[in-house]
């Protein structure tokens, strides 16, 4: 271990193993033969798990869990939740289907029963908080979006309970919050305590047609039109605009019809505003400013700043590079355009590359490119009220629902409910979730990424039906985004759904030509002021500041 050669040898072996070129047995054999100790190798393979002497790689008692603790093996033998029925409110969408998929497995192991009530996304917030605010507490757990979090903490006693006591109990299904990537973990916490169990890990990245972007003829055409080499991937917003314009209006996929530069979706109430939030981040967030929504000292909205305005004006320009109707498209409609091979780029969630792996629904398997959202060379600091030039200003994000279960304080079956939540968070199930398109789940844990960032292997992803090249593009883009030093803040204060709704409808009005960008953002700011006053400005301010800790 003292010689550089040893380091290199170990590094090469580890990379071969983690990239799936050699299996676990051969890695241990070769590395052991080279003089490295088995405990060291074990830590390299799964650091957190290797440190836990009670953790077994798997056990026949639970074919659905891996790893599993010795205490849990004993616990499951008792069928601990026989006769217990829990009620789980889930989103009527892919992530809800995923909950339904796991329910019978958990029932088989524990003897318990899960009633999964599916609620459409547009009424989910209402249903959850009607159940909680009325004190009915008919549900033991809710599949929540992260922007609901502030609302759970409005009452003196929060509506949801921290998971620490359950996490400390080895009888429950094993998962480890330390495995989260830092920005993802923050979404599952409030004031430093974990309230949600691992499920989803959303962020928006830029997905593009790698096969088309790297085509020599296309590259020559692009250079002829713009005067510079086609950037793979685009680094700046300007390059992204150039690419969107370049790929619009001609048949670059060879099917005889005209194709598009970019696919977006912008129907109101369908999460389309996340596109704007994502693309606007590098216009506002910079090394000098981390605030996107409010001035933390006054709670005055920043949304109508010059930076936001320029971002919105640029966002509108993208519209000309996609079908006009996309302003009324749902998320799935936006994805379809890309999956059918008619769009060159789409800034969206990881569902897109995941769905692209299904040959029945996709014509782009093996053709995916992925990258973090492009940056800018100038950003506006809305607190200081000034623009500043940067060599390159790029911002990561965790935009999206990051849908996951939280445990109701009204639940009378907290143990069983947590056990089901933990069961879905167990590595075997969580990895399955994030590799399947139909689950709507994306990776948020370190072990889901490829080395050197994480410990999963291409072989593991290929075993779930992934194309090797797509896997690398997807995971590298996702990881780069989530670990970027600058991150866009995520709005989690009470009323977040209402703040975002006001932004959503006003952006939609701009895209439909009913409002000018400046008017739309001013209106949004006015509405936000009213929402803040209604919830109480001092309290909102305190919670906004707390949401950064």
């Amino acid at each position: 271990m003292s010689k550089n050669g040893d380091h290199e040898e170990l590094k090469t072996l580890a990379e071969d193993y983690l990239r799936g070129r050699i299996d676990r047995r051969r890695f241990l054999l070769l590395a052991g033969a080279a003089g490295f100790s088995v405990p060291l190798l074990g830590r390299l393979i799964r650091p957190a798990e290797a440190a836990n002497p009670d953790l077994l790689p798997s056990d026949p008692i639970s074919p659905y869990e891996a790893p599993i603790t010795k205490q849990r093996v004993a616990f499951l033998k008792t069928k601990p939740f026989k006769g217990v029925t829990i009620n789980f409110m889930a989103v009527k969408a892919t992530v809800g289907d995923c909950v339904k998929y796991h329910a019978p497995h958990w029932e088989e192991l524990t003897g318990g029963r899960v009633n999964v009530a599916e609620v459409p996304i547009e009424t989910l917030h209402t249903q959850i908080f009607a159940d909680l605010a009325s004190g009915l507490g008919r549900y033991d757990a809710y599949q929540t979006a992260c922007w609901f979090y502030g609302d759970y903490f409005v009452p003196k006693e929060p509506y949801i309970v921290p998971l620490a006591p359950y996490l400390a109990d080895a009888r429950y299904s094993y998962w480890n919050p330390d495995d989260w990537l830092a920005p993802m973990r923050k979404l599952y916490e409030w004031n430093g305590q974990v309230y949600g169990s691992l499920f989803d890990g959303d962020c928006q990245a830029l997905y593009f047609r790698n096969d088309v972007f790297t085509n020599k003829d296309v590259q020559a055409k692009f250079k002829q039109k713009t005067g510079y080499d086609l950037p793979v991937p685009p680094k700046t917003m300007q390059q992204m605009h150039d690419l969107a314009g370049f790929f619009t209006g001609w048949d670059w996929n060879g099917d005889g019809g005209k194709d598009w530069g970019i696919s977006l979706h912008a129907k109101v109430n369908e999460q389309g505003f996340f596109h704007f939030l994502t693309l606007a981040a590098p216009y506002v967030i910079s090394p000098e400013n981390k605030y996107f929504y409010f001035n933390p000292e006054t709670m005055k909205p920043l949304i109508n700043s010059e930076g936001h305005l320029r971002a919105l004006e640029d966002y509108v320009k993208f519209l000309a590079n996609g079908p006009r109707e996309e302003i009324a498209w749902t998320l799935g409609q936006g994805w379809n355009l890309f999956l059918e091979g008619h769009a060159a780029m789409e800034p969206t969630w990881g569902d897109l590359p995941t769905l692209a792996q299904d040959p029945k629904a996709s014509k782009v398997r093996g053709k995916m490119g992925g990258a973090p959202i492009p940056g800018t060379t100038e950003a506006f600091n809305p607190i200081a009220g000034a623009w500043k030039k940067y060599e390159f200003n790029q911002v990561g994000n965790v935009n999206g629902g990051t849908w996951h279960p939280v445990l109701s304080r009204f639940s009378k079956k907290k143990e069983a409910t947590y056990d089901f939540m933990a069961f879905m968070a167990n590595r075997k199930n969580a990895f399955f979730n994030s590799t399947q398109g139909w689950t709507g789940v994306q990776p948020g844990m370190k072990w889901e990424y490829l080395p050197p960032a994480g410990t999963s292997t291409i072989a593991e992803w290929e075993a779930q039906g992934w194309d090797a090249a797509d896997t690398v593009q997807y995971l590298d883009a996702y990881y780069a985004n989530l670990t970027m030093p600058l991150q866009e803040e995520y709005l989690r204060i009470p009323g977040a759904a209402e703040y975002w709704h006001e932004l959503d409808i006003n952006i939609s009005a701009v895209l439909a030509g009913q409002l000018k960008p400046k008017d739309a953002l001013d209106r949004t700011a006015d509405s936000w002021e009213k929402v803040t006053d209604r919830y109480g400005r001092p309290r909102q301010k305190a919670l906004y500041q707390a949401s950064f800790t």
């Binding site: 409005v154 109101v268 109707e325 409609q333 701009v510």
Partner: protein, 296 residues
């Protein structure tokens, strides 16, 4: 006096039994009309925050906020436009179809059954059906129109969205008018038609000069019911456009739903409901008086 005494005697007939018979109806009205109305009135003077309940009473502030809110009046204008276009189209189409069927047009029996189907379908279901019918990604309506060289931006413009919703509303509710009109036309004695046939030159003239005036008392009730229903429209436009793009298809019910149910602003949402109730009551009262005058 005799008349009054007689009425009083009549009023005593039945004793407690008639009150017992009335009790379910009274209980229903108290539970589902009176109590909610009082509750809405109560909330309309309060400030409500999710998780904290009523945090204080604000007098007429919620009403002031509603009456000075551009969004509220915008939703009223959208609703009024919706009703003003959809209901007359349904009345005209429903009556014409009923007239054609009453003339014994070929296939009218089958047509009568088919026409009634949308009436029994949920507005939300029709809204979602509309999404698939109008979509530019293989929607049949858009496909046929494109084939004819017509491109209507159904969901990417405000007027396109409201037009799409009105077309579906007309499709759904025309059968309602049709069924009532068919009954009204059928109730006119055949002898009157026979006499009219001798004087009038065409079925068109008989319809305009005979069937319409004679069916009008019944039709006014149908129109009134449709106006009330159309003012409350929610499921169809909500499923079809979610009120967008922007707020261009945000009828009153959607605006009130978002305020009250989605964002838990019970104070403002209740005030919106009360203001709308007053507006609608005034319109309906005026409309009803006009109709009665016409009938008289």
């Amino acid at each position: 006096m005799a008349g009054r005494a007689g009425r009083r005697r009549g009023g005593d007939e039945g004793g407690w039994f008639k009150y017992a018979m009335l009790l379910p109806a009274v209980a229903w009205v108290v539970a589902f009309t009176f109590f909610p109305l009082i509750s809405v009135l109560h909330f309309s003077f309060a400030s409500y925050v999710l998780g904290q309940g009523i945090t204080g009473y604000v007098g007429l502030q919620n009403y002031f906020n509603v009456l000075t809110s551009g969004e509220f009046w915008h939703s009223i204008a959208i609703t009024a436009a919706y009703v003003a276009v959809a209901v007359p189209l349904e009345v005209v189409a429903g009556f014409l179809l009923a007239w054609l069927v009453s003339l014994g047009a070929p296939g009218s029996r089958v047509f009568r059954s088919i026409l009634g189907a949308p009436l029994f379908t949920m507005g939300v279901a029709i809204g979602y059906l509309g999404v698939t019918l109008y979509t530019d990604q293989g929607g049949p309506i858009t496909g046929v129109l494109s084939w004819l060289g017509i491109h209507i931006p159904w969901f990417s413009t405000g007027w396109g969205g409201i037009l799409a919703a009105i077309i579906l509303d007309v499709w759904r509710w025309t059968p309602f008018i049709f069924l009532i009109a068919l009954a009204a036309i059928g109730s006119i004695p055949a002898s009157i038609y026979e006499a009219a046939m001798l004087d009038a030159g065409s079925h068109w003239q008989i319809m305009l000069r005979l069937a319409v005036p004679l069916a009008w008392p019944v039709m006014t009730v149908a129109i009134l019911l449709r106006v009330i229903e159309a003012l409350k429209v929610f499921g169809l436009p909500f499923a079809l456009t979610s009120g967008g793009p922007g707020t261009s298809t945000q009828v009153f019910s959607i605006a009130d739903y978002l305020t009250t149910i989605q964002f838990f602003d019970f104070g403002k949402g209740s005030a919106m409901g009360i203001v709308f109730l007053i507006l609608v009551s005034a319109i309906i009262t005026f409309f009803f008086r006009q109709m009665r005058r016409n009938i008289d």
